[in-house]
């Protein structure tokens, strides 16, 4: 019986095992090996030692530049998105009328394709005829910048655009907020805690696992930004929005430098692992788990 069950278990998960080997584990290993080679698909790979990594760290300013662009964007978009989506969730959680309607609206941009969003924002950011500069002029009498056509403003533009996607994490925060037991608030009220105190000492700790989850997924996603950059600016102006993912794509599928691109992918992978690890590790200081165990 037990043996039969084990056989059934492995039969059930066998598609995943095959898929894991062919599409995850194998390729991870292959790209690590490839990162020490020169390979253009048409001719066989040539072992190149550390040449790809040496070029990347010492001989390719665009590598560092694309990393910088991605970091700036991440440090802008992730904290702002966190604060904004949490704020809206907290406001919605005050039993405001029309909760489900607001939630539907806030989440809406998340179901629209990346290309459609990118095209829409391309014209919103238009310097002369775009919606944003018109609003700025009407409301604040500011003559807006060129946004995505300006070297200084292109990254802030991407950050502004990313805020439209805040509905995704917001839905999660809202669910977490609704899961906070009300007797905790009542106890806080009896102890004389004001609403700010109750938020800081009850709400935040209770929803901190969700904060962690959202931060980790947001960082991983922003590190991989591609579609919006490809469609809206294609890295411009003057490489000011040359995101890491875009530069990696160019190396792989424009210049067919597969070995170099694989090395770049591994650097990205390592960075994501480090950031995730640091976030998870630090979480024992700021994430509260009710059961005492580790979440996620």
């Amino acid at each position: 019986m037990k043996r039969r069950e084990a056989v059934a278990f492995y039969t059930c998960i066998s598609p995943w095992i095959v898929g894991f080997i062919v599409f995850s584990a194998g390729p991870i290993l292959a790209s690590l090996i490839l990162s020490f080679a020169e390979y253009s698909i048409t001719s066989p790979p040539v072992f190149a030692g550390l040449a790809n990594y040496r070029l990347m760290f010492a001989g390719d300013p665009l590598f560092w530049h694309s990393l910088k662009v991605t970091m700036i964007y991440t440090f802008g978009a992730v904290p702002l998105g966190l604060v904004l989506s949490l704020t809206v969730a907290v406001m919605l959680n005050q039993k405001l009328p029309g909760l489900s309607l607001w939630r539907v609206m806030y989440y809406l941009p998340n179901v629209v394709s990346g290309v459609a969003v990118a095209l829409l924002w391309t014209i919103i950011f238009n310097k002369q005829f775009g919606l944003l500069n018109w609003l700025l002029y009407k409301a604040l009498h500011i003559t807006g910048p060129g946004w995505i056509s300006s070297k200084q403003w292109v990254l802030p533009s991407f950050v502004v655009m990313s805020l439209g996607g805040g509905g995704g994490p917001m839905v999660l925060y809202l669910a977490a907020l609704q899961g906070v037991p009300t007797d905790l608030y009542e106890a806080g009220q009896i102890d004389g805690a004001g609403s700010w105190r109750r938020f800081a000492s009850i709400t935040l700790p209770m929803i901190s696992p969700t904060v962690l989850f959202n931060v980790v997924t947001a960082v991983i996603a922003t590190f991989q930004t591609f579609t919006s950059a490809y469609v809206m600016t294609n890295g411009g102006p003057q490489n000011a929005s040359l995101f890491y993912g875009l530069y990696l794509y160019r190396n792989a599928f424009r210049y067919f430098k597969m070995g170099y691109a694989a090395a770049m992918a591994w650097v990205l992978f390592t960075l994501i692992l480090i950031v995730t690890f640091v976030l998870l590790r630090s979480s024992s200081f700021w994430v509260y788990y009710e059961t005492g165990g580790k979440g996620m």
Partner: protein, 292 residues
């Protein structure tokens, strides 16, 4: 003494109450402002799609067109073979959807219900692949498909779905675990094997979760840009998302009215699906995000 306290207590209470009403009104206003920030671009997209070209340069930007130009939609959709692009998209999205529902149900059933050596470790690996950035595996996988001669075909976009997806496995496994095992046991007594238990008991009881998987699968593949971009290179094989971007490349961004008409058409299926199934959406997101 008590009467004094009572009478002086009423106005303060009323004041506190009206303060609370005011706070809620302000909150509501802020929430509405945020919703406007989200909705305005989408409304503007529709307005722009109905303008004549010269009207797109008139201020204010949201001024309604003198006469709505419905034929913009026809022009935009026939300028490139969009009909074909949408058919192409369906030939990818439909088989992937079926594979996603069936393969992941099977795999998730194994993880949720059956015991076997190494199960916990294997499930941990499933979870960790959710965090795996696509860029790391994309190059060898691309090379594999190009060696198989699959470039410029739909196979690289369909075949991987047969092998499950960590996110869906996780979602379904979580759901399956909420179903009472007593049902499995009584099915077993009635002579059901493992697979007919899955098919006859678990899957019918999991319709909401399976529908969520189907919806997410449809959305992800309908909206996918990167996969079609690297695997499809001949024009007549393009998907809708790729065709939309190609439209912008070919016509430039300047005929905004046509570009926005094509964009509106592109987002309609997803927005409609979302409108009809938004409860499943929210449940699906919450399920995978919170109940980790």
């Amino acid at each position: 003494m008590t009467t004094v306290a009572a009478t002086s207590g009423v106005p303060t209470r009323r004041r506190a109450q009206s303060a609370r009403v005011l706070v809620r009104a302000i909150l509501l206003l802020l929430v509405a402002a945020g919703a406007l920030f989200i909705m305005l671009p989408l409304l503007w997209m529709i307005v722009t799609s109905l303008k004549e070209q010269h009207e797109t340069y008139l201020m204010p930007p949201w001024r309604l067109p003198a006469v709505p130009q419905w034929r913009n939609y026809l022009t935009a959709l026939t300028d490139l073979p969009f009909g074909r692009y949408y058919l192409n998209t369906l030939t990818i999205v439909v088989p992937v959807l079926l594979a996603d529902v069936l393969a992941n149900a099977l795999i998730a059933y194994g993880f949720a219900r059956l015991r076997g050596p190494g199960k916990d470790v294997l499930f941990l690996i499933v979870l960790s692949t959710m965090m795996l950035p696509g860029q790391v595996t994309m190059i060898p996988v691309y090379i594999l498909f190009s060696k198989l001669g699959w470039i410029n075909s739909y196979r690289p976009l369909i075949v991987p779905a047969l092998f499950g997806n960590a996110f869906f496995i996780f979602l379904l496994r979580q759901f399956f675990r909420t179903i009472s095992t007593e049902l499995d046991d009584s099915a077993r007594i009635d002579g059901c094997g493992y697979f007919s238990t899955l098919w006859r008991i678990i899957m019918p009881l999991s319709k909401p979760a399976l529908a969520t998987v189907a919806i997410f699968s449809f959305m992800a593949n309908y909206n996918d840009f990167f996969g079609p971009l690297i695997y499809l290179n001949s024009n007549e094989k393009f998907t809708a998302a790729l065709g939309l971007q190609f439209f912008q490349v070919r016509r430039g961004a300047s005929p905004w009215h046509l570009l926005m008409a094509a964009t509106v058409v592109n987002i309609v299926p997803c927005v409609l699906l979302y409108g009809f199934a938004q409860r499943l959406f929210i449940q699906g997101i919450v399920f995978t995000g919170v109940k980790g």
